[in-house]
């Protein structure tokens, strides 16, 4: 009965799905299927190696400091970093005083309340503060950027497919639109062609315009490529500040688990296929006849045996 009912219901679902399939096939065959413009022109992130790749990867402190400099001098005028505090910069290798100075001299002040009048004001940032937003709110941010909203960069390398290589590719990916780009996909007013951006036209103007845009204190040559890589590494750190703890803990955990699992395997083998010395044949003491005799002997002797 259940089977008959099941076959009927099954036929119902199969037929309806087949009906959908038939329409799908008909449409697929009859309608020309063009590649979308994004499909044709969109580029996958370039294959860029970073020091923090792989299970043993670590951040390159001087590179993070350079990346922070690029962020400070280029990105920070439009983008926030709201999940990162100045005190976190200790991780980049800055000392106590340096962090204090960076917070104190930060170009944007932190919103505060005037302690006498109670009116809204601003004050200089302290190490405990998070990076202040360049705009007081979203409306102001959009108003200053042709209605585009510069995203907060704290998590950007985790919030985009491709991570840090994507960011580096995007920052150096501004091109003149190719000649065969359809007219309706050409960058409009205030947009810029960048094949690494999802819909090809990005509102952000090219941020890294020339080699030497920042001057690195450590003597690294600030090419556009170098600056893009450095700031991408910095943004990988802002998104995943505990990466090094995670990988170190992971290696220790794996070493322990491997050892424990080998022991567990040996225990398992030992219990199931124990040493030949412990092997007792059916004809030995565990033979039913022998056990019966033993139990009888125990009973006669008044010793509590197995019931």
């Amino acid at each position: 009965m259940v089977r008959l009912l099941g076959i009927l219901i099954g036929l119902g679902f199969v037929l309806v799905a087949a009906w959908s399939l038939a329409w799908g096939v008909a449409a697929y065959v009859s309608e020309p299927h063009e590649e979308t413009v994004e499909h044709r022109f969109h580029q996958e992130p370039r294959d860029i190696a970073f020091s923090f790749d792989g299970p043993f990867g670590k951040y390159d402190r001087p590179q993070l400091q350079r990346g922070f400099q690029v962020f400070k001098e280029v990105c920070a005028s439009c983008h926030g970093l709201s999940f990162v505090a100045f005190r976190d910069l200790h991780d980049l290798g800055y000392g106590e005083e340096e962090v204090k100075a960076i917070a104190d001299q930060w170009q944007i002040e932190v919103p505060a309340v005037d302690s006498k009048t109670g009116e809204a004001s601003t004050r200089k940032a302290l190490p405990a503060d998070r990076f202040p937003s360049p705009y007081p709110n979203e409306v102001a941010a959009r108003a200053a950027n042709r209605n585009a909203l510069p995203p907060d960069l704290s998590l950007i390398t985790k919030a985009r497919h491709g991570g840090a290589p994507y960011i580096a590719s995007l920052l150096t990916g501004y091109r003149n639109p190719p000649a065969d780009l359809p007219a309706d996909s050409r960058p409009g007013e205030g947009l810029h062609y960048n094949p690494w951006f999802a819909n090809l036209n990005i509102a952000m103007p090219p941020p890294l315009t020339a080699d030497g845009q920042v001057s690195y204190a450590d003597g690294t040559n600030p090419t556009r490529e170098q600056m893009a890589k450095d700031v991408s590494a910095f943004l990988a750190w802002t998104a995943e500040p505990k990466l090094e703890n995670r990988k170190a803990a992971g290696l220790a955990t794996l070493a322990f688990l491997l050892f424990a699992t080998i022991l567990a395997y040996m225990a398992y083998q030992n219990i199931w296929h124990g040493g030949a010395s412990r092997r007792v044949r059916q004809t030995g003491v565990l033979d039913p006849d022998n056990m019966a005799k033993r139990d009888e002997a125990s009973r006669e002797a008044g010793i509590a045996g197995n019931p």
Partner: protein, 435 residues
């Protein structure tokens, strides 16, 4: 519990005897997962996954309770509080990554556990209720996982909650009121987040309760085994402890190694980048997908594209829920007396087609709803329903099965199961002791 030759609990110390007479908790544990539970001696590694699922649930509850100490179920702060856990809470990153990836691994081991049941016919009499309680656990897990995915209040959280609750909106007449009732409003918002948090905290304990029923129901007939032949004598079984506790210990080690590799070295691999963007009701992601473990069902949902008496969306919802509900009827859809796929050659072929079919469904479910993938998912959907509702019932009528071994121990002696306890240690109780 299950067999007359099950070893009885004997307290080893005065204190345990005292305790046993007042609160026989050690006796319960001994009978459930100790030396007092006789288990078929020929179980293979696929029988490790029930224990692994139990451990995965424990990991989720422990990490989840600690995460809840730091998480804020408030729409303006939920995302921030998750980042606070990642950055400022001691080992918070570990807790959160372990919880997120632990959910994935919970589903991996549960799905393997279910596939094992499908192949070896573990759903058949007398274990129908074990199977059905397991399906109840699966449904509870799905609800819990879905609500947990909403809590970080990222873009995918928000839009997935909108899409999934929108499924209820497809029900005629009462659909929209039900959807609004679930969300606590017309769109996902603070009430949604708060109630999902409450339920996400509650349901794992409900799961734990149903797990107890699942194990209780299992212990009445005892565990199934790869031959599908019932246990006949004490020769067929070994005590759960130490035999299967040792084997589960090894399985647990392998499970934890794999979980650690993903958690520590690719913690975001199974997630979606968009969920690191705070929820924004005004910006729809280009491609809304649930977590990977829902992809096969998501593919079935989207396979129905054309109205046929009922709206296409309603067909999709019916099919998606039906895909799980039909499993409740499996013991009666496939009443073949032969349990194990090892002795059902034709069943075996269809079983592997089904496995491939589910992988294809999962693959399509993760992709955008574009051709030709929709057509592929439609073919796979047709097979899914045909397999359970048409092929299995007919197969159970017409199939010629292979001869079964007379007993588990006979199959072991003939080398049909590579791993088996030696007769000496296993048969501490001789065969004749059954009566």
């Amino acid at each position: 519990m299950s067999f007359p030759w099950a070893e009885e609990y004997r307290p080893k110390s005065g204190f345990m005897r005292w305790l046993d007479q007042r609160l026989p908790l050690p006796r319960l544990v001994y009978g459930a997962v100790g030396g007092g539970y006789p288990v078929p001696r020929n179980l293979n590694y696929f029988w490790n996954f029930g224990v692994l699922a139990g451990i995965a649930l424990t990991i989720q509850i422990v990490t989840g309770i600690i995460l809840a100490m730091h998480y804020v179920p408030y729409d303006q702060q939920a995302f921030q509080s998750v980042e606070h856990i990642m950055r400022d809470v001691n080992q918070g990153w570990l807790l959160r990554y372990l919880h997120a990836n632990g959910a994935s691994f919970f589903f991996i081991v549960t799905y393997i556990h279910i596939f094992r049941g499908l192949y070896y016919g573990s759903y058949k009499a007398p274990r129908e209720l074990v199977w059905m309680l397991g399906l109840v656990i699966l449904l509870l897990m799905m609800a819990t996982a879905f609500m947990g995915y909403v809590l970080p209040w990222g873009q995918m959280s928000f839009w997935a909650s909108k899409v999934i609750t929108g499924l209820f909106g497809a029900i005629p007449l009462i659909g929209e009121p039900v959807q609004n009732w679930l969300l606590g409003g017309y769109a996902p918002d603070q009430p949604t987040l708060n109630r999902f948090f409450s339920l996400h905290y509650l349901l794992p304990f409900v799961i734990a309760g149903v797990v107890i029923l699942h194990i209780w129901a299992l212990h009445i007939p005892g565990s199934s085994n790869p031959t599908g032949v019932e246990v006949k004598t004490a020769q067929d079984t070994v005590p759960f402890h130490p035999y299967y506790t040792a084997k589960d210990g090894f399985g647990l080690g392998v499970f934890l190694i794999l979980l650690a590799i993903v958690t520590f070295f690719a913690p975001n691999y199974l997630g979606h980048a968009d969920n690191y963007i705070p929820a924004n009701p005004l910006s729809t992601p280009s491609h809304i997908v649930p977590e990977w473990y829902f992809w096969p069902f998501y593919a079935i949902l989207r396979a129905f594209t054309v109205d046929f008496i009922l709206p296409a969306k309603l067909w999709g919802v019916l099919a998606m829920f039906g895909a799980i509900i039909l499993l409740f009827f499996l013991p009666w859809l496939d009443p073949s007396p032969v349990r194990s796929g090892n002795y059902r050659p034709r069943f075996r072929q269809f079983f592997w087609i089904l496995m491939l079919d589910i992988v294809v469904l999962g693959w399509c479910g993760g992709l955008p709803a574009e051709e030709p993938w929709v057509m592929v998912s439609q073919i796979a959907t047709i097979y899914y329903f045909a397999h359970f509702l048409i092929i299995l019932p007919i197969l159970s009528w017409t199939e010629r099965t292979e001869p079964l071994p007379n007993s588990i121990s006979e199959s072991v002696l003939h080398g049909e199961a590579a791993e088996s306890a030696p007769a000496d240690l296993a048969g501490l109780r001789p065969a004749g002791a059954a009566e």
